[in-house]
């Protein structure tokens, strides 16, 4: 039970620190962008441009929500 609690705490810390942070939607957008890139590459499309666009879009949207929350 103690080992399970410790593992759960470590995994939660890991996911929050390195993956989701304070806005899980950015990580979700990155995941969706990577899936879409994979799909496009499999279909023979040059998809290098997709991730930079997803990254900027997700960041702008996350920052806008953060400013609204501050207000």
């Amino acid at each position: 039970m103690m080992l399970w609690n410790l593992t759960r705490k470590v995994v939660t810390w890991w996911v929050v620190t390195f993956v989701t942070g304070d806005d899980w939607s950015v990580a979700a957008a990155v995941g969706a962008g990577l899936l879409a890139t994979w799909g496009l590459v499999r279909a023979g499309v040059a998809a290098w441009w997709l991730m930079p666009l997803v990254v900027i879009g997700a960041t702008v949207s996350s920052l806008y929500r953060a400013v609204l929350r501050e207000g």
Binding site: V19, D23, L34, R42, T59
Partner: protein, 249 residues
């Protein structure tokens, strides 16, 4: 020697090392230097073992899947730093350092175990992020040696600065550094993740240069945009105040 990996890990590690040094100096000054330095050494040894173990294990895994996983990890982690950097720089400006650390004072004449534990905890917790970055960069380009040297150089340089004068370290504008290094991590993350999935970058490795330029420019533009949004939000709130004050309850 892989210079881009070395420079990137040096810069990324510096962000966390500044906090490590701040904690160790605070413990050393307010409690006892012997305990603080022993805790620091113990923390650094744990991190070295972690990097050596994980780094060696990941050297045997094929490059493409590692690049996808590590790239996605660097991307989400780097974007957190970009977001924090943009929000803080747009609110506090470019020149804010790490600030003073608060540590409880008062210690006897023997070995300071509380100081040891405080320094150990600070170094190992802040250093865990450094270890992950070192392992990620090292594994994704099969350059664990360059990544480890970059991080070690950062610990030595910022540590020496902290030993000479903590005020120098406290004045390093950590938030601004966080924003630029976040853009750098995001660049490597985007590049490696897309490459691992089979996408071909125009200009191959040179794409790293225009990609970092693109992300840094976007981050700088976002600092201005977020400042503008904040002013707009404040204006709307101020305009709404008289109405809500006079409203019946």
């Amino acid at each position: 020697m892989n210079t881009p990996v070395l420079i990137s890990t040096f810069l990324a590690a510096s962000i966390e090392v500044i906090e490590m040094v701040a904690i160790v100096v605070a413990v050393g000054v307010t409690r006892q230097w012997r305990g603080a330095l022993a805790g620091t050494l113990a923390g650094l040894m744990v991190l070295a073992v972690l990097v050596a173990g994980l780094g060696t294990a990941l050297q045997r895994v094929p490059l493409s899947p590692i690049r996808v996983v590590v790239g996605a990890l660097l991307l989400t982690f780097g974007l957190q730093w970009v977001r924090k950097g943009v929000l803080r720089v747009s609110r506090d400006g470019w020149t804010i350092g790490v600030g003073e650390q608060q540590v409880e004072e008062g210690v006897g004449s023997g070995f300071d175990w509380t100081g040891f534990l405080l320094a150990f905890r600070g170094v190992s917790l802040e250093g865990l992020e450094v270890a992950v970055i070192v392992v990620a960069f090292g594994a994704a380009d099969h350059a664990i040696g360059s990544a480890a040297i970059g991080a070690a150089a950062s610990v030595l340089l910022v540590g020496a600065l902290g030993a000479a004068s903590y005020r120098v370290v406290a004045r390093i504008p950590r938030r601004a550094l966080q924003l630029f290094v976040g853009a750098l991590l995001t660049t490597f993350g985007t590049f490696w993740a897309a490459e691992g999935l089979g996408a071909d970058w125009p200009g191959d490795d040179l794409a790293l240069l225009w990609l970092v330029g693109f992300y840094v420019t976007a981050a700088l533009a976002l600092v201005r945009v977020v400042s503008y949004w904040r002013r707009g939000t404040l204006r709307r709130l101020r305009a709404a105040e008289p109405l809500t004050e006079g409203a019946p309850r």
